[in-house]
């Protein structure tokens, strides 16, 4: 990407999954991994948009005692960093529910309790908050959900990218990522009833929206006949 004749950007050295890597300044961790010619068949997804949560890494900078989490496609490499991928794993236990069977919103709190009983046992260790690469107030969401404040809990998980790091971080097996999606899905499925959509669906069911494949607008205008 450098302009011909321009100065080569400075290189920095760091460690990624045990490999010593040299990268150009400004490169993301993921770009640095690829540029080093290392195989990449997992822990990769949207390549920079920061929406898929696949490229989760632990990062420790020189002088830091603890490693933090990040997305490798978003974080730029820095000299002396120690980085390692966190492989994907599914939630340890399924918090099973059938969204279509949850029809009574009066019992939302009981439903949350029944599917995610661990949520009430949050010990407020803050592990989930530290683990989230998106800065979501995960622990607050768990508390709100356990209190039945479904909309407030759902709103906090608006920017969740499915990385599941909070699931790994939780010692109580609350599975916050899945609890967050549960309250989001429940609130949408139980309360979103747009009148315009419903009216159009009724119209279609009554045969009121026929399609004419040979209407003038369905063919090129004034096309010369062959």
């Amino acid at each position: 990407m450098t302009e011909p004749g321009s100065e080569a950007p400075p290189e920095i050295a760091f460690t990624f999954d045990g490999q010593p890597i040299r990268a150009r300044a400004g490169a993301t961790l993921l770009q640095a991994w690829i540029a080093a010619g290392l195989p990449l068949t997992e822990n990769v997804g949207c390549m920079g948009q920061g929406v898929c949560g696949a490229c989760r890494v632990l990062v420790r900078r020189p002088g830091e005692r603890l490693a933090g989490t990040a997305l490798a496609c978003e974080m730029q490499a820095e000299a002396g960093m120690q980085v390692s991928f966190v492989d994907h794993f599914p939630a340890r236990r399924a918090h099973a529910y059938d969204l279509h069977a949850l029809t009574d919103s009066w019992t939302a709190l009981e439903q949350i309790d029944r599917v995610f009983p661990e949520a009430r046992h949050c010990r407020h260790c803050g592990g989930c908050d530290h683990a989230c690469p998106k800065g979501i107030a995960v622990q607050r969401m768990v508390t709100l959900a356990a209190e039945g404040q479904a909309f407030a809990a759902a709103a906090l998980f608006d920017h969740c990218v499915l990385c599941n790091l909070c699931v790994a971080a939780c010692p109580e097996h609350i599975d916050p990522a899945h609890l967050g999606q549960f309250v989001r899905r429940m609130t949408a499925a139980l309360t979103l009833r747009p009148a315009d959509l419903i009216a159009r669906l009724r119209e279609i069911e009554q045969g009121g929206q026929p399609i004419d494949p040979e209407a003038p607008g369905a063919n090129p205008a004034a096309a010369p006949s062959p």
Binding site: E3, R185, A189, R200
Partner: protein, 537 residues
């Protein structure tokens, strides 16, 4: 020639709001001269297979007209999994198809190359079309889609797409997906927020902020993980389809990446939902696509005998990030233009109707660059997307409605309310693909397709918002049809029966048998499926 960034910035500031300059080139001439697909050296004519004689992007043709990765000896003794329906691909279309097939009573195997949900779906920003406005109609959606695709789309498929649109939105809400509401609207009895996508005659684009695909994929992923009857195989890309002695598709040879060994998945019906091909970087363009978009499904379906269509038509998203270079491939959502952001050249002038179809806008930008009105910064060229002008007209819109865009600017190190983006066309979508009928069936019995891997819906240019709709509508149709097909006669004498004839075809055309496909990962993934298979031995 190209205007350097500081001079262009000064021109933009001086002229704001930028005056509109009518393009002196009529659309056909603009496309002919500046659209990347019209550069004839980019196309070759397919010599083998069901679509021999059709033009095809050279990069794709090289993968299509190649030999398979596996021989009989490679799969002898491989573990066998059985299912009614095998779904290959864990993005939006794959999840919808798997859910639908499982709810129709089928035992479903869902095999995905990376991780469930890793796909272009999760990256879709702008929205999903459905004709729900009182002033809108299914007919208008039908005609808009045909016109945007230059009237070469399959009308039966487009009619199915638009007719199922409103029901698809209801289905998504039932799966727990949220949608934006019109300002001041109530959740119950209110109106959905609607915007006009490029090339449309009505406001029809529904959205969830500017990460509609993420919101959709979150709901679909949870639904799929929780659905009884679906067995999920992460990190299991498909190497080749299995066929029986009558040419019926009978499942697929999967590659277990964790173990480095093949696994045979036998199924009564197989549905490919493998997405697109952006990671082939046609014509050297950067791509907005997901890492896994390497045309695997096209290669597999074509070798098994399915027909392809419109393989010479790719979509270049007009507003990919040009600067900074480390963010190449990222897109500024069309939602920005749909909301009113202008495109401005190095002279501070507008040069195209920002809401024209994507092929026209992309060609217009390439023309500005080619004719010296582009803007150069650190060795890359583009034009401005005037987000500060949008913010000035609608204060707060960037922070509230264009969240991903604002975040993107932050990562690039500037404030989108103060400085415009530097953008250029970026490879975004494969307009063509495997030919299907309205139920998602291909010409190969037992083989269905859904989502971006298919062709016929978008003609030669896809409208914004029709890809998310397509994956829901045809995921449901294909999943239902696959469950039905699996109840019919089962494949027999299963193996790689189709490969002998395929190889005869390659030899007859003098094509080499040295290249083996699909590639599974982009070249910079440094992966060799043949070598990886040896790892387990």
């Amino acid at each position: 020639m190209t205007r350097p960034y500081p001079a262009a910035l000064a021109a933009w500031r001086g002229a704001a709001p930028a005056p509109a300059v009518a393009s002196p080139l009529p659309v056909p001439a603009l496309l002919e001269r500046f659209h990347p697909d019209r550069q004839h050296s980019a196309m070759v004519t397919l010599a083998v297979g069901s679509s021999a004689g059709q033009p095809c992007r050279a990069e794709l043709a090289a993968l299509l007209q190649a030999d398979a990765l596996v021989e009989d000896v490679d799969i002898a003794g491989a573990p066998v999994l059985e299912a009614d329906v095998l779904v290959i691909g864990g993005g939006g279309a794959g999840c919808v198809a798997a859910l639908t097939a499982a709810r129709a009573g089928a035992r479903v195997l869902l095999a995905t190359k990376l991780r469930l949900g890793d796909s272009n779906t999760v990256m879709a920003e702008g929205g999903i079309q459905a004709a729900i406005g009182a002033e809108d109609s299914l007919q208008r959606h039908f005609e808009d889609t045909l016109r945007a695709g230059h009237f070469v789309a399959d009308k039966a498929l487009v009619a199915a797409l638009v007719s199922d649109g409103p029901a698809a939105i209801r289905w998504l809400i039932q799966e727990g997906m949220s949608f934006d509401l019109a300002p001041g609207s109530d959740r119950m009895g209110g109106q959905l927020l609607r915007r006009k996508p490029g090339g449309a005659t009505a406001a029809r684009l529904l959205s969830y902020r500017d990460f509609t695909g993420l919101e959709m994929m979150r709901a679909l992923r949870e639904a799929t993980l929780l659905q009884p009857g679906i067995t999920l195989l992460d990190r299991h890309p498909a190497l080749e389809l299995l066929t029986d002695d009558r040419g019926r598709c009978a499942g697929a040879v999967l590659h277990d990446l964790a173990q480095g060994r093949p696994v045979l998945a036998r199924a009564g019906a197989t549905l490919l939902a493998t997405g697109g091909a952006g990671r082939l970087h046609a014509a050297g363009f950067p791509t907005s696509n997901h890492y896994g978009a390497t045309a695997d499904g096209l290669v597999l379906a074509y070798r098994a005998g399915a027909a392809l269509r419109d393989m010479d038509s790719l979509q270049y998203h007009p507003t990919g990030i040009a600067w900074p270079p480390h963010m190449t491939g990222a897109l500024v959502s069309e939602a920005a233009r749909a909301s009113g952001a202008a495109l401005v050249n190095g002279l501070g002038a507008r040069f195209v109707d920002e809401l024209a179809t994507r092929d026209v806008v992309a060609a217009a930008i390439l023309r500005e660059i080619a004719e010296g009105r582009g803007i150069g910064r650190d060795g890359v060229e583009g034009v401005f997307l005037d987000t500060p002008g949008l913010e000035a007209r609608e204060p707060g819109i960037l922070a509230q409605r264009l969240v991903t865009l604002t975040h993107l600017a932050g990562r690039a190190g500037f404030d989108a309310a103060q400085e415009p983006f530097l953008v250029r066309p970026t490879l975004h979508y494969q307009n063509g693909g495997v030919a299907i009928d309205a139920a998602g069936r291909t010409a190969v019995p037992g083989l269905l397709c859904a989502g971006e891997v298919t062709g016929g819906l978008h003609g030669r240019n896809r409208m914004m918002g029709n890809a998310l709709l397509e994956l829901v509508v045809f995921g449901r149709r294909g999943g239902q049809a696959a469950a039905e097909d699996a109840r019919g006669e089962r494949p027999r004498s299963i193996g790689l029966n189709h490969l002998a004839e395929w190889r005869r075809g390659l030899i007859a055309q003098g094509l080499p048998l040295t290249r083996r496909t699909p590639i599974l990962f982009p070249p910079y993934g440094n992966f060799d499926a043949t070598a990886d298979r040896g790892r387990a031995a």
